[in-house]
């Protein structure tokens, strides 16, 4: 398997030179740009269109120690048919679960378009050996996961050991299977940067490029277990990275903000960010996802409000 720009990863020194040669990010300016885009006013037909698109982009997620097969089956039913009273509501993009529950989800979703994504690689901390991470990835894929959400080794990244991070991503990508040049036919790999632990926007930009060069199909902000999780400015930096990577290599990488996106208003702000940063090409579930759980019901509530002019109470939308 070869990935674009792989030649910069021949040594830690060359990888470091490349990543540190990327233009810097000015935090104040990036925050201001994200805030300005947050003031866009999306109303009427545009709002209706945005809500349905957001529903189709949701990775409906449950990542709790208390998860059971029953909980996962219920969530799968919700992902397929978010509003039982309204068949015009599209399905969510995927469900996202821990590896041991992949088989349950696969069974529940058989015959539907909703994909099964599994976290892997010692999620959420990533503190284990490469052997364990690769083995966990293989198990998830073998159980039928179409997408793998891995975490990077933030410790190695912050210590400047970029090559270690690169090699782990590449190894996990290989474990996703697939015979094609970019691993086509294998599971899609989403690389979680855990931007809340990387702290600076310069680090977010470097980690984004590192993940793309190493073969990630998506870059994802957060596990949801660390605060802050997804933010608009961090997502802006990542969208700039995928835009510039596509210009340079011709390959489009997806972006997935996850954690803390709870309202329709928030979701629409992310769509505006995509539209005006990476561009309309990225406004598809193939290239943009929202990692969330409670967001879905708020989208449904707003959708119904737009159709009927009235808000229904929370009891009129199913819990899961």
């Amino acid at each position: 398997m070869t990935t674009p720009l792989a030649e910069v990863a021949t040594s830690n020194a060359s990888l470091r030179a490349f990543l540190h040669g990327l233009p810097g990010v000015d935090r104040v300016g990036a925050d201001a740009r994200a805030a300005m885009l947050g003031t866009r006013s999306i109303k009427t037909t545009a709002k209706r269109q945005a809500i349905d698109l957001a529903v189709r982009m949701v990775d409906l997620t449950t990542l709790e120690g208390a998860d059971t097969p029953g909980k996962v089956r219920a969530m799968c039913a919700k992902a397929v048919r978010p509003d039982p009273a309204d068949p015009s509501v599209p399905s969510a993009a995927a469900v996202c679960v821990y590896p041991d529950l992949v088989a349950t989800a696969v069974q529940a979703l058989r015959g539907t378009d909703v994909k099964v994504a599994s976290v892997a690689t010692a999620f959420p901390s990533g503190r284990s050996s490469l052997e364990v991470k690769v083995a966990e990835t293989r198990l998830a894929v073998a159980a039928g996961a179409a997408e793998v959400d891995m975490v990077i080794d933030r410790g190695a990244f912050l210590a400047g050991d970029y090559l270690k991070v690169f090699e782990e991503i590449a190894a996990v990508k290989a474990a996703c299977g697939g015979a094609g040049e970019n691993g086509e036919g294998g599971a899609h790999l989403k690389v979680i940067l855990e931007t809340g632990e990387l702290a600076t926007y310069d680090n977010v930009r470097r980690a984004s490029w590192l993940a793309m060069i190493a073969g990630g199909d998506f870059i994802k902000t957060s596990t949801g277990k660390v605060s802050p999780a997804a933010t608009l400015p961090v997502t802006l930096i990542m969208l700039e990275a995928v835009r510039d990577f596509a210009r340079r290599t011709g390959r489009k990488i997806g972006v997935k903000p996850a954690g803390g996106i709870r309202t329709t208003k928030d979701a629409i702000k992310y769509l505006v960010l995509v539209n005006e940063t990476a561009g309309p090409d990225w406004l598809t579930p193939d290239l943009f996802r929202l990692g969330a759980s409670s967001l879905l019901n708020d989208l449904l509530m707003q959708r119904q409000k737009m159709a009927t002019g009235r808000y229904a109470g929370p009891d009129y939308f199913t819990l899961d």
Partner: protein, 487 residues
């Protein structure tokens, strides 16, 4: 694929009268002259209201009212004056939405800017100077006189005649009126003839705040009214913001009189981007520098100086970004670029842009359909511009960017300073030492570091060279409205 539906701000919130008189001595009075003109919405050319153009006799009445009010206003304790100014600031905040819509209607600027930039700054300016009113003795102009010791005793100047431009009508009013009142002066203000409506709304706010009659007087009109105001012998201080040409005339006319003068005039600011700049934010800064308020900004970053080693990359990114700008209805909340303020200004922008092309610079605009009615000009970038081109020398005051390149920091500074103006500059680099080295060599009143067009009432603003003299804002802004006596 993702089209934003129209999201117009409602104009029902504003109540525009069919015609306006002048605001003199706390009352609405009819002009004694017979000039009446319509003020129009530049986005539609629709007439908004009929405005009186004050005659010399009207100006005289206004100055007399201000003189009379000065006796009592200047004698009030600072804390009492502050109460009025704080009250004005609060009313402006309460009526911010209405004032923002009115500003966008009369001026053509996008509601996003009048709502998120102009109005918050207007209120902040009044709040800031209200706080100074009872602390003038501590403003650093000398020790406070106490225990028989001598010290500086700051005194107001008297009546301030103030003439403001059309690009930030209410904000320029705030910059003029807030410090004048805080220092104990009274005011006769003339707004620009194309944008009088928010100044007239401010007159109502003065009444709402129970400001004593005559402390603020608003006389509308064009150049003749302004000339009568600055020439009036009852005026002690003249403050003018506008073109360098008119500023020169005023300076000539006032030479040899006792009147104090501050001028804030034109600019041709350099926005310097070094090769190690944060590229995406530099692009935003360039856009904000020249396309904010349609480029109708005296401190606009109208000359982009970019290091040759990144010129191609930066221009590609800039053009891609400009293609996302949304031009159209100023009242639509998603509009980035509004209307040009007047037919005369549009003609000037067209004339200078044509000169740019004929002198050999390359002109580029994104695909951008313009509305049929009203005054519009697309965001425009000229590349291949030389220092000798008119578009690199003259203030265009429109959404037109001239791009020049440089090779070394010394060349950047040399080119940036090679202008008769010196109002502002921007520098983009991630390297702190280069930032300081460059900023200390630029002859400009404001140097923005990795940002552009940022304003704050605590920060002094003003020019070098032909950009004027005196400072507005901050502690420095008080100096323009005070005299000191040794006590």
């Amino acid at each position: 694929m993702f089209e934003y539906a129209p999201a117009p701000e409602s104009r029902d919130i504003v109540d525009i009268r069919p015609s306006y008189g002048l605001f003199i001595n706390g009352e609405w009075v009819e002009s004694q002259g017979d000039e009446r003109h319509k003020t129009i919405n530049p986005a539609t050319e629709e007439a908004l209201a009929e405005i009186s153009w004050a005659s010399e006799a009207d100006v005289d009445r206004a100055v007399q009212a201000a003189r009379k009010a000065f006796t009592t206003w200047s004698a009030l304790p600072g804390a009492e004056r502050a109460k009025y100014i704080f009250r004005i600031a609060r009313i402006i905040q309460e009526r911010a939405r209405e004032l923002a819509v009115l500003e966008s209607l009369d001026n053509g600027k996008p509601i996003r800017e009048s709502r998120d930039v102009d109005l918050p700054l207007v209120a902040a300016h009044f709040f800031y100077y209200a706080g100074w009113a009872d602390k003038l003795a501590y403003a650093g102009f000398g020790p406070r006189p106490a225990n028989g010791q001598s010290g500086a005793d700051p005194r107001p100047l008297g009546v301030a005649g103030q003439v403001i431009p059309w690009n930030f009508p209410l904000l320029m009013l705030a910059w003029k009126i807030a410090p004048a009142l805080a220092c104990g002066n009274t005011v006769v203000l003339k707004p620009a003839e194309t944008t009088p409506l928010t100044a007239l709304a401010f007159a109502e706010i003065c009444r709402q705040a129970d400001l004593p009659p005559g402390v603020v007087n608003i006389v509308t009109g064009a150049g003749a009214t302004g000339a009568a105001l600055v020439a009036h012998p009852g005026v002690d201080k003249v403050a003018f913001t506008g073109s360098t040409e008119v500023g020169r005339q005023i300076a000539r006319n006032l030479a040899g009189t006792r009147k104090k003068l501050t001028l804030e005039l034109g600019g041709k600011a350099a926005n310097i981007v070094f090769e190690d700049a944060a590229l995406d934010q530099a692009v935003e800064g360039i856009v904000n520098g020249i396309f904010f308020n349609q480029g109708h900004v005296c401190c606009a970053g109208s000359r982009l100086l970019v290091q040759e080693s990144i010129a191609g990359e930066l221009l590609d990114a800039l053009k891609r970004r400009l293609a996302t700008l949304r031009l159209g209805d100023p009242l639509d909340k998603n509009t980035d670029i509004g209307a040009i303020n007047s037919a005369a200004q549009l003609a000037k922008i067209r004339e200078l842009s044509a000169a740019g092309e004929s002198e050999g610079a390359e002109r580029w605009s994104p695909s951008c359909p313009l509305p049929d009615r009203g005054f519009w000009f697309p965001p425009t970038v000229f590349t291949g511009v030389a220092q000798s081109h008119r578009i690199a020398r003259e203030e265009i005051f429109g959404p037109v960017l001239s791009v020049l390149t440089f090779r070394t920091p010394a060349e950047a500074v040399e080119k940036a300073n090679n202008t008769p103006y010196g109002l502002s500059a921007g520098v983009w680099t991630e390297k702190g030492s280069l930032m300081l080295w460059t900023a200390s060599r630029l002859r400009a009143g404001v140097v923005w570091s990795n940002t552009f067009n940022r304003f704050d009432p605590a920060s002094p603003f003003g020019g070098y060279k032909e950009s004027g003299y005196g400072r507005e804002g901050g502690r420095h802004g008080l100096a323009a409205y005070l005299d000191w006596k040794l006590a």
